[in-house]
């Protein structure tokens, strides 16, 4: 077990590799900060949209059974399993400026490629399925009978959700959201096709690697890891510890 864990974590030691003095500014002045800002702001927006759209769907799914649930989950699984690069190309082919949908969006003033919109939409596509499947599990762990008991005490379904379901699923939902966060923030394969600009951290790291070398890559790599890893990691541990009652 120890050997295996060490093997899996060994690549992290690369952060200490002798690359020469780190260039915090990145390939050209300001590019590091710009990439960090783009990534954090747009990922936060994408995550917000994923949570707003995905939470009701996850709850619906958690209260379905048998064939119906299997069908919906199967569909969601397709979105989760799509290789990112393939998804990026498919998104371009279905939303791009040359398509009917893309043209219609362009007339509305929304650029469907290489724009913040494209960036957020792509992140939505790569993370929504993950979020819904994980949030479904969080909701499914809340016993149906507790909701029914709350209903019999006179609370309508919306208030039952708010006062019983949501608080009990809270940690699991947070873990689901953090999974989606890490997934969206780290997305490279699909984003590089649909939204090379504005360059977020993954794309900027790639650019730096290509054009400026490792000293420019390392600082961004460190920030990238720090913004993607610790929070989801802690939330997962917390969610695991507080398993359900009754």
């Amino acid at each position: 077990m120890l050997a295996f864990t060490l093997m899996l974590l060994y690549p992290l030691s690369g952060l200490g590799a002798p690359t020469g003095p780190w260039k915090w500014g990145g390939g050209y002045p300001g590019s590091t900060m710009a990439a960090v800002k783009v990534s954090l702001a747009l990922t936060a927006l994408a995550l917000l949209l994923v949570i707003i759209a995905g939470t009701p769907v996850a709850y619906y799914l958690a209260r379905r059974e048998g064939v119906e649930r299997a069908i919906w989950e199967g569909a969601l699984l397709i979105s989760v399993l799509l290789p990112p690069l393939a998804l990026g190309i498919l998104l371009s082919l279905s939303f791009g400026p040359m398509t009917a949908l893309g043209g219609w969006l362009a007339r509305l003033g929304v650029a469907s490629a290489n724009s913040a919109t494209a960036f957020v939409a792509t992140q939505f596509y790569v993370s929504a399925g993950y979020y819904v499947l994980a949030a479904r599990a969080a909701f499914a762990a809340v016993p149906r009978e507790l909701e029914q008991a709350a209903g019999l005490l006179g609370l309508n379904p919306l208030r039952v959700f708010w006062r019983v379901t949501l608080p009990l699923a809270r940690l699991g939902l947070a873990a689901a959201a953090s999974l989606a966060w890490a997934r969206a923030l780290g997305e490279f394969g699909a984003i590089i096709v649909t939204a090379y600009y504005p360059s977020g951290m993954p794309v900027q790291i790639w650019i730096n690697l290509q054009e400026a070398g490792l000293p420019a890559v390392m600082p961004l790599l460190l920030i990238f890891l720090l913004s993607a890893l610790p929070l989801p990691w802690l939330l997962h541990l917390a969610a695991r510890r507080s398993q359900v009652y009754v």
């Binding site: 016993p143 009978e145 507790l146 029914q148 008991a149 709350a150 209903g151 019999l152 005490l153 006179g154 609370l155 309508n156 379904p157 208030r159 039952v160 006062r163 019983v164 608080p167 009990l168 359900v244 009652y245 009754v246």
Partner: protein
């Protein structure tokens, strides 16, 4: 106008009129019940006779296939009324306390619905005094601020009872709520329930397969066998002339 005042105005209605038809794997349940205000009726039968199906259909945890259920003149089925529009209490083997809330928050849970304008206890006693009385008489002072998941089995049961009484339900359904408790505790809880029944005059429908518990709670009994009521009367009447051989064995 709150739900309870509206219901309370209809004094001439029976509390519960139910005809419940529901198919199950081995047989179908087909039961008619009628209960007056303050009436205590036992639903007695072997395990698997259909007692839980009847109660759970009245409570709304499941839906009958056919039939009709009326509570104080309002239709609960058909169509199936949502849970929050059923002013009744339902106590099963599980306490179903809300584990993320304190004992106090559990007990007062239903009052939140009242404040928000939902159905509930249009009581003459102000809510605070009523809650205070429940807390004292159910001996919950020592655990009042404790998280509900931290209380003992017997305490949890009393919390569940306080929580259901807060709304002063006109009908209380008991589905073997004493199954996993020791005898001393059962005796204590039975006395407590009877006291509250006298005080609040709710109709009580109690299902169990143990006669000694039901005899203590209810003067009248309806006997259920494979989904049908086979006899109804006082315990003496039923014991004197059991309607079926199976019932005779059960009473022996």
């Amino acid at each position: 106008m709150s739900e309870m005042t509206r219901f309370g105005a209809r004094l001439n209605h029976p509390v519960l009129e139910a005809h419940i038809v529901k198919a199950r794997r081995e047989f179908s349940v087909d039961v008619r019940l009628s209960m007056g205000r303050g009436e205590r009726l036992a639903l007695f039968g072997a395990s698997g006779a259909g007692k839980s199906t009847v109660l759970s259909c009245i409570a709304g945890f499941e839906s009958p296939d056919q039939g009709e259920i009326r509570l104080l003149g309002s239709t609960l089925f058909p169509p199936s009324a949502p849970l929050h529009r059923r002013p009744l209490a339902y106590l099963t083997q599980k306490d179903l306390l809300f584990p993320h809330l304190t004992v106090a928050e559990n007990v007062c849970f239903a009052l939140d619905g009242v404040a928000a304008g939902g159905g509930g206890a249009g009581g003459r006693v102000p809510a605070a005094a009523w809650v205070e009385e429940l807390k004292r008489r159910l001996e919950l002072e020592s655990v009042w601020e404790a998280p509900a998941r931290a209380v003992s089995g017997g305490q949890a049961r009393r919390v569940a009872i306080a929580r259901m009484l807060v709304r002063r339900p006109p009908l209380v359904l008991l589905d073997e709520p004493f199954a996993s408790l020791d005898n001393l505790l059962i005796f204590e809880l039975l006395e407590m329930l009877l006291e509250w029944q006298h005080a609040l005059n709710f109709a009580l429908l109690a299902a169990d397969h143990r006669r000694e518990i039901l005899v203590r709670l209810c003067p009248r009994v309806a006997v259920i066998e494979r989904g049908r009521l086979v006899q109804e009367g006082t315990w003496e009447e039923v014991a004197a002339a059991p309607a079926t051989p199976a019932l005779a064995r059960l009473l022996a």
